[in-house]
């Protein structure tokens, strides 16, 4: 079996008396979609924050591409290839969709300390950015400010940004949230292809999407991973049914 791209070992994070993350270990392997599910308040977002670097775990290690990233901040982790989207869209609202993606292209190319050349005339920025917008199906909306895009379009734009960063793993925090069924279906198809590019850790409430996409599923309840397995294993796991799917065993 190939070396995991991302490996969490024994992560723990407490807020006062609350154990938001309780001895979590899981990994993300090349080419897979690993879904993370669990009831509200189970600690999914807290976990994503720790992986992305915006929260520091109390104990435990995070290895990414074979390297301990515990000491790195958000920008450094993004630079080595952890691409993240937000539960609530987080874009630069005044910039057009194209310029939002261009910012990511610029970041990937290295320096932002270039003071004189206009970005809009820099084809090494505009062309890759446009290509990413085309991939997510937003090319015809390139000049629209992000603030004026629809909810679904903003989620697509977030993914275009993660793509433009050349991410080696994607952390997607509820990409389907607030989408209409049509949009969810398109996005499901898109994510299905995206896994060829880089593996995806997918936090999602939409069970149809999770069951359709995931290679493996981990179930998080009260900060603990109570089960990890294939779709059918998870569907048939008694503990999961009791704790999460709400069925009496």
């Amino acid at each position: 079996m190939a070396e995991p791209v991302l490996q969490l070992s024994n992560l723990t994070k407490t807020f006062g008396a609350l154990k938001a993350t309780d001895d979590v270990s899981l990994d993300l392997r090349p080419g897979e979609i690993h879904a993370l599910i669990g009831p509200n308040g189970a600690g999914k977002s807290t976990l994503i924050h720790q992986i992305a670097g915006s929260l520091k775990p109390d104990t435990g290690t995070i290895r990414f591409l074979g390297r301990d990233v515990g000491a790195l901040g958000v920008p450094e982790r993004a630079r080595i290839g952890l691409g993240r989207t937000f539960q609530i869209s987080s874009l630069t609202p005044e910039f057009s969709a194209l310029r939002n993606v261009m910012l990511a292209v610029q970041a990937r190319q290295g320096t932002s300390f270039r003071f004189f050349r206009p970005v809009m005339r820099d084809r090494s920025l505009t062309e890759p950015a446009m290509a990413m917008l085309e991939r997510v199906g937003l090319a015809d909306r390139a000049t629209i400010p992000a603030a004026e895009l629809s909810h679904g379009e903003r989620r697509q734009l977030e993914i275009a940004i993660a793509l433009a960063l050349g991410s080696k793993a994607f952390l997607l925090d509820e990409p389907m949230a607030g989408m209409d069924p049509e949009g969810s279906k398109t996005l499901t198809g898109f994510l299905d292809q995206l896994r060829q590019e880089a593996p995806i850790l997918l936090v999602e409430h939409d069970m149809d999407a999770v069951f359709a996409l995931a290679d493996r599923i981990s179930v998080l309840v009260y900060g603990r991973v109570i089960a990890t397995g294939s779709v059918s294993e998870i569907r048939n796991d008694a503990e999961v049914r009791r704790a999460y799917l709400g069925e009496e065993a």
Binding site: S54, E76, E94, R108, F113
Partner: protein, 323 residues
């Protein structure tokens, strides 16, 4: 040509027209007024880099304005008295050298102030920049070597190679030329990669970090560049008045620079120019009618903040567009 470009051009040409008209009709006082407009506009163009593009509400830019002023005053006084500076360096009355000194000095101070202040944000940043500027203000007052509270006179206006700066119109062109250079710098920065990162830091800091760009360094660089431009304006201001005093460093000055930008339009290319023209004209004409002109300025400002956001350029050109 976009509507905003056209309006910027009209504003700048209007400023240029004032001294030409004044020379034609022999009202040379208006040349001084226009020069004052150009210098304050340049100072505000500098602040507009930090405040308009980066969203950094610096309430301490008078520090850099004053440092530029003192650079001119100190170098000129040493040249005039033929006293060497520390390390045996000579004083000078050559404007390019003075400007370079103003740029380096205000840049270095901005680096120190920015490095500390930018660890914070929001209200903290406002208060801390204000406090540091106040520190320099008190230092200038209590340091007796260069006039202390009384300030420092520049007996003869400093020189620019090849022209006669004692002539009012010529000095205006020197200032106007620097203002144009400042505006060019602003527009280049705004459209560059650096500007993209800086504006993104203002709009959504978390997003910028998530694409892998650390906002702190971008902001610090912007703060330093911004201070350098304001510093040059300070040197010109000292030469215009042939006098520099701690009042250039006062917090009122910092407030005034912000006011210029708000009146003109935050983050807009020609905003500071429109703001400075409006402000100086207001000061002069209303000040001619009543001693209490600041009362009316206050009321006008309140009205602008509460009811007319976007300033002059916003009113004329509509919302800003980003490619």
């Amino acid at each position: 040509m976009s509507r905003e470009t056209l309006i910027s051009l009209v504003i700048v040409l209007a400023l240029l027209a004032i001294p030409l008209w004044a020379t034609a009709v022999g009202e040379t006082f208006y040349i001084t007024l226009a020069t004052r407009m150009a210098i304050l506009a340049l100072a505000a163009v500098g602040l507009n880099i930090a405040l308009g593009l980066g969203g950094l509400v610096s309430f301490g830019h008078a520090a850099f304005f004053g440092i530029g002023g003192y650079a001119a005053g100190i170098l000129a006084s040493h040249a005039f008295n033929m006293e060497p500076l520390p390390f045996g360096l000579p004083g000078t009355n050559a404007m390019p050298v003075i400007w370079a000194t103003a740029i380096v000095a205000s840049g270095l101070v901005a680096l120190a102030i920015g490095a500390i202040s930018l660890r914070t944000a929001g209200v903290y940043f406002i208060m801390i920049t204000l406090a540091f500027a106040q520190m320099i203000f008190y230092f200038a007052i209590s340091w007796p070597a260069y006039g202390g509270e009384d300030g420092l006179s520049i007996f003869v206006r400093n020189q620019f190679p090849g022209v006669n700066t004692l002539d009012g119109l010529t000095f205006f062109f020197v200032c106007f030329g620097l203002l144009m250079a400042g505006l060019l710098l602003f527009s280049l920065l705004r459209d560059s990669r650096f500007g993209a990162a800086l504006q993104a830091a203002r709009q959504n800091e978390r997003r910028l970090a998530t694409v892998g760009i650390a906002p702190y360094r971008i902001r610090l660089a912007a703060f330093v560049i911004s201070a350098m431009v304001t510093g040059v304006a300070g040197a010109l201001f000292a030469d215009l008045n042939r006098f520099v005093s701690p009042s250039m460093l006062s917090w009122h000055m910092s407030g005034e620079l912000i006011v210029l930008i708000i009146l003109g339009g935050v983050g807009r290319l020609a905003g500071p120019v429109a703001g400075a023209m409006l402000y100086v004209a207001f000061e002069y004409f209303l000040g001619g009618i009543t001693e209490r002109w600041q009362l009316f300025l206050g009321l006008l400002l309140l009205a602008v903040v509460l009811f007319a956001r976007g300033g002059v350029v916003g009113l004329l050109a509509g919302k800003a567009r980003h490619g």
